[in-house]
């Protein structure tokens, strides 16, 4: 029994923290977030060289073949500094291809994602805002040996930066008649429009497909089980970033409460301030524990994985939203200013809450599990 990280994982954490502290502190993050691209190409190259982009890609395709527990370590650190990068999007697209793709398809795309020469993303969510399979309605019409896709995807992570879009579409009436297609962003009939988030460190886009032609070798059919696993991985990944960001917010606010003096005392002495901070700590530690269990379940292919993921993301979505608000509020006036960093975490919490399912969605999945088992 050992519910902790290995020495290698701790070293990986140190490596990520060291690089991001040096190359991407919050003042740099603010500058990068204001550029049209929204991420640093130079740092992208650097993290590609360090092997982070291939972390979870199989070794046969140029990656390190590590798992979601290892990825959790990296994403916690990226969340801590609100690192703006298409890392998450590319990692998730690679996970979908690795799970659903044929050997030839994996051969064709994964090594280029591992070495950073292509950026990719998942395009799943549509206007109905339903994260499950029923929400996937994008239509495909047969065209030659392949398909033509028409419809719209929203909340596509780093859609504007991506070269490849892994698009989920409907192939039949049954709930899980879903396939995936790898669509070149530059192909005819593909239009990507950045939809700015209040969290400028996160880029999301609307993707419009208008008869976009998909060659048969770019289609991964019967993909719902693989996509379902990918969406679980995605929710866990976002939850890991939320851990780091929430710890960043807590650290900033605790520092302020120790140093800011009112009524002749540091405000951190007052229970009205220290108790909400203690609650933040309790919540972060708790969804962290759920997340580690979820990541372990994912790596082991445990049947409990969807339940574990949903418990973690539901908890995180609720608690991080409150942490974002409390971090600003406990700072008083300074927390409201543009220059001070508290607002950055609050905005991140608004981005993270609904992505890959909000707490209602995930609590409903948990409850569906009770029904399946006949009890809790």
């Amino acid at each position: 029994m050992n519910f902790g990280f290995t020495e290698e994982q701790e070293l990986l954490r140190q490596e990520v923290r060291k690089l991001l502290d040096a190359a991407s502190p919050l003042e740099t993050v603010r500058k990068v977030a204001e550029t049209p691209e929204g991420y640093s190409r130079e740092l992208w190259k650097q993290i590609a060289e360090l092997g982070w982009l291939g972390l979870t890609i199989p070794e046969a395709h140029g990656g390190a073949g590590l798992g979601w527990v290892d990825l959790t370590v990296v994403l916690e650190e990226m969340g801590r500094t609100l690192f703006p990068s298409p890392f998450l999007a590319t990692t998730l697209a690679a996970a979908a291809i690795a799970d659903a793709g044929s050997d030839a398809q994996k051969q064709r795309w994964l090594s280029r994602l591992a070495d950073g020469s292509r950026i990719a993303t998942l395009a799943v969510l549509e206007a109905g805002d339903r994260p499950g399979p029923a929400g996937i309605q994008l239509a495909a019409t047969p065209l030659g040996d392949g398909f033509a896709l028409s419809g719209e995807k929203v909340q596509v992570l780093d859609g504007a930066a991506a070269d490849l879009l892994v698009v989920a579409f409907r192939t039949g009436r049954a709930a899980d008649d879903v396939a995936l297609a790898v669509v070149e962003r530059s192909a005819p009939g593909v239009a990507v429009e950045n939809t700015p988030s209040i969290d400028a460190t996160k880029r999301v886009a609307r993707v419009r497909l208008d008869g976009a032609r998909i060659a048969p070798d770019a289609v991964m059919g019967g993909a719902w089980p693989a996509l379902a696993r990918t969406l679980d991985r995605a929710a866990a990944a976002v939850t890991a970033e939320m851990v780091g960001a929430a710890e960043g917010a807590l650290h900033l606010t605790v520092g302020y409460a120790r140093q800011r003096s009112q009524f002749g005392s540091p405000i951190g002495r007052f229970q009205g301030v220290k108790h909400p901070l203690a609650e933040m700590y309790v919540d972060v530690e708790s969804w962290k524990s759920l997340l580690y269990w979820a990541a372990w379940c994912i790596d082991r292919g445990e049947a409990d994985a969807p339940r574990a993921v949903s418990l973690a993301k539901a908890y995180a979505s609720e608690a991080f939203a409150r942490i974002g608000i409390d971090a600003v509020q406990l700072h008083g006036g300074i927390g409201y200013t543009w220059e001070y960093d508290a607002q950055l975490y609050l905005k991140r919490s608004k981005w993270a809450r609904p992505i890959f399912g909000d707490s209602d969605f995930h609590y409903d999945r948990v409850a569906a599990g009770w029904r399946a088992q006949g009890a809790a």
């Binding site: 029994m1 050992n2 519910f3 902790g4 990280f5 290995t6 527990v69 807590l250 605790v254 409460a257 120790r258 005392s265 540091p266 951190g268 002495r269 229970q271 301030v273 220290k274 108790h275 901070l277 203690a278 609650e279 700590y281 309790v282 530690e285 708790s286 969804w287 524990s289 759920l290 580690y292 269990w293 990541a295 372990w296 574990a308 418990l311 539901a314 908890y315 609720e318 707490s359 209602d360 609590y363 409903d364 948990v366 409850a367 009770w370 009890a375 809790a376």
Partner: protein, 382 residues
Amino acid sequence: MDFDLSPAEEKFRAEVRAFLDEMLPPGTDTNDPKWMGDWLRRVRAKRWVGFSWPREVGGGGGSIMEQVILKEEMAKRKAPALGACFMGLAWVGPAIIQYGSEAQKQRFIPDILDGKYQWCTGYSEPGSGSDLASLQCRASRDGDHYVVDGQKIWTSIAMWSKWMILLVRTDPTSEKHEGITCLLVEMDTPGITVRPIRNMSGGAMFAEVFFDRVRVPVENRLGAEGQGWQVTVSALAFERSSIAEVEGLRRKLEELVELARGCVKNGRPALEDDAIRRRIARFDARIEAMRMNGMRFLTKQLKGEPLGAETSINKLHRAALEIELGDLALEIEGSAGHLEREVDGGRWQRFALSWPEVVIGGGTPNIQKNIIAERVLGLPKD
């Protein structure tokens, strides 16, 4: 990360399960005194009473992992407690093992393991609750006796106990924590008056205890004079994993799901109400978080690192859950929620009125938050 047990641990789990299968076949009446006598004898023979204590004092010498396995399997099967002397096993025994004289160990430890009689705990006073170290119950030395004068309150099972572990102030002039001494007091000593206090659920589990020139032999002092605070704090640190509590809460959650399936709200099962269902799922997340927090703490212990203020995390979760589970149950029961015995014989009403026992005793939620804020986050002390 690895949740697997070693072969020896798996073997121990199998032994525990086999024993429970034998002792608890379906339909077992664990309230039957004959069954209970047999249970206590057999778990004692297996050295599962005081399982974490050293074998030299009669304990089981179980490893941390074996303790967890034993607790978890017991809780899963709703097995009765291992041993009859609740506070003796929880903290009086550990305090005596750590600080007691050889004579005290021989006199008290076997009786605690055999469950011969009950111990109670004389800590809180009318003026000293959360701020326990401010206690005022006095003991002054008179030859080879201490003479105790003062009052204790919230003393659970004082009326059924033969002995009390008592904190008194022996030196009113020294710093608050330093003038405190720990005494072991026989409850039939002249000058002790016990007055039960009725609680909001109608029962009386705790009492006020008055001391009027009560003479306690010096040989019944536990630890040195002025060492009482240390004796108390390190004995409470024996309180280990929260595994059994997590299992208990999980059973409660299952029962709540069943209740929501059976109760009708707006003409359909309450479980089909989105708000109710999600509130129950939220409890599920908290309970599972407690379990996984416990796994992380356990990992720390297995690496030989002491547990600190992080145990307050699960205490806070437990407090919230004990209150909210019962409260939601009454809401699910709808307009009948306030009726004493209408639904399920009134079990949820009793549950909803008994949470203070676990929520207040051993440190209120506000105190737990102070502990986290000060010891983990480094905020200034109140």
